[in-house]
């Protein structure tokens, strides 16, 4: 078989690469020339094509609605291309203004610390959405959730069950924020989650911040400082704060 530029031995590994579209023009030309004259390599090509045909009969597994939902819940809505209505945009704008005002007025000196804290809270929130990271104690009963934290943190806040049904208590967990163990209460809001972090009061005033599609809302009550983190609308988060304060005031 004189005149062939490539031998069978050289050609064989090229055949697979050829059907995979991995050969350059020169190699393809040489291989084609070889195939035209070589019966056994042509049969190998035919077998590879038949194999590919059979492999591609297998239909791909599809993502379940449940998983799509889980992913949607854990990634900020904008990333999931949710319906964009004027309302959330409006809130985002208002939120932005509040942050700007609060930012200059109160956080000037502590800007970097504050920003680091927000980043940590965000990470904790995102982490909590991973399987098995959300709850250490699972209960809708505040009398079960509260004692679980006894002796685990320096403060012993109460995870109030809210009177309104829109924010069910789901449980709590212990998290590490700024190197401190921090109690976190977890509430539901439709299919979304609200993480409520509780700190000893720092003297800071209420603040609201939007970051990467999440909202953070902080307020003080007596000896304690709360930060709620969620991807629900900031209006929902404000409602949550109001309900929580009502429950606390009882």
């Amino acid at each position: 078989m004189g005149g062939l530029l490539v031998t069978c031995q050289q050609a064989r590994p090229w055949i697979g690469a050829w059907i995979d579209g991995e050969l350059d023009l020169m190699q393809s030309a040489e291989l084609r020339k070889h195939l035209a004259e070589c019966q056994s390599c042509s049969e190998e090509l035919e077998a590879l094509r038949a194999l590919r045909e059979s492999i591609r009969k297998v239909s791909p597994s599809k993502v379940s609605e449940e998983l799509r939902d889980r992913v949607a819940r854990s990634i900020p809505p904008a990333a999931m291309k949710r319906r964009i209505s004027a309302l959330p945009l409006g809130f985002a704008f208002v939120g932005g203004v509040v942050v700007a005002v609060v930012g200059t007025a109160l956080w000037n000196s502590r800007a970097s610390t504050h920003s680091a804290l927000v980043a940590e809270l965000m990470q904790s929130h995102v982490r909590s959405l991973m399987p098995n990271h959300l709850l250490d104690v699972v209960s809708t009963d505040q009398h079960t959730v509260k004692p679980w934290f006894d002796g685990k943190t320096s403060i012993s806040p109460t995870p109030f069950q809210l009177r309104t049904e829109g924010f069910p208590l789901l449980g709590g967990r212990l998290d590490l924020i700024e190197g401190q163990r921090v109690p976190v209460f977890v509430y539901g809001r439709r299919k979304h989650l609200i993480n409520l972090f509780v700190f000893p009061a720092s003297g800071a005033t209420m603040w609201l911040e939007d970051r990467q599609g999440y909202h953070l809302l902080s307020w003080n009550e007596g000896e304690l400082e709360y930060v709620a983190v969620s991807d629900v609308d900031s209006s929902d988060l404000k409602q949550f704060k109001a309900d929580y304060q009502t429950a606390e005031g009882k």
Binding site: P13, A17, S40, S54, I55, R56, V58, S61, K81
Partner: protein
């Protein structure tokens, strides 16, 4: 980047179905595959700032693969990395040049046969045949040289063809 969220949608979330299919082939269990994909999306979201490149798919698949390997580690499955390069092997058989036999197998048989491939061969095969990734992309995903990808792919096809041919013979006799 004009908008991080649009970018994330384009480079990662768009490939959710593909990622799930990839994860399924590693773990062959719906629950584990779903957990692995969910964790991978969150991981990708956290790490997205560090993503550079024109195409998020291999990058995202790499994350999915790593997650799946962790799941497999927990199950104490066979390690992935202990294999080197292989000699080229033909797909066609000496005694049976009839490609028609390979075409005659049912999709369930093919699925079962792919499932039984050793993991290092299975992964390159599914990334090529189902995800249509280039050799260079597969090399990036599995962390092996292109030459290794090529030889594993050739070995995977030879093993699969042998297996399917046996199935087809079994069915016809």
């Amino acid at each position: 980047m004009k908008n991080d969220r649009d970018q994330f949608e384009w480079h990662v979330l768009r490939h959710l179905d593909a990622a799930y299919d990839v994860a399924w082939w590693y773990l062959q269990n719906r629950q584990d595959a779903e957990d692995a994909v969910h964790e991978s999306v969150l991981k990708a979201y956290e790490a997205f700032a560090s993503f550079r490149g024109p195409d998020g798919r291999p990058w995202f698949f790499q994350i999915v693969r790593n997650r799946c390997l962790r799941f497999l580690e927990k199950r104490k499955a066979a390690p992935m990395s202990s294999l080197g390069d292989f000699e080229f092997e033909p797909v066609g058989a000496e005694d049976d040049p009839e490609a028609a036999l390979l075409r005659s197998v049912q999709s369930e048989q093919v699925k079962a046969a792919i499932s039984e491939l050793p993991p290092p061969f299975r992964e390159v095969l599914i990334l090529k045949e189902f995800q249509e990734q280039s050799y260079a992309q597969i090399a990036e995903i599995v962390g092996a040289p292109v030459g290794t990808v090529m030889s594993r792919l050739s070995r995977a096809r030879a093993l699969l063809a042998k297996r399917l041919r046996a199935e087809a013979w079994g069915a016809s006799s």
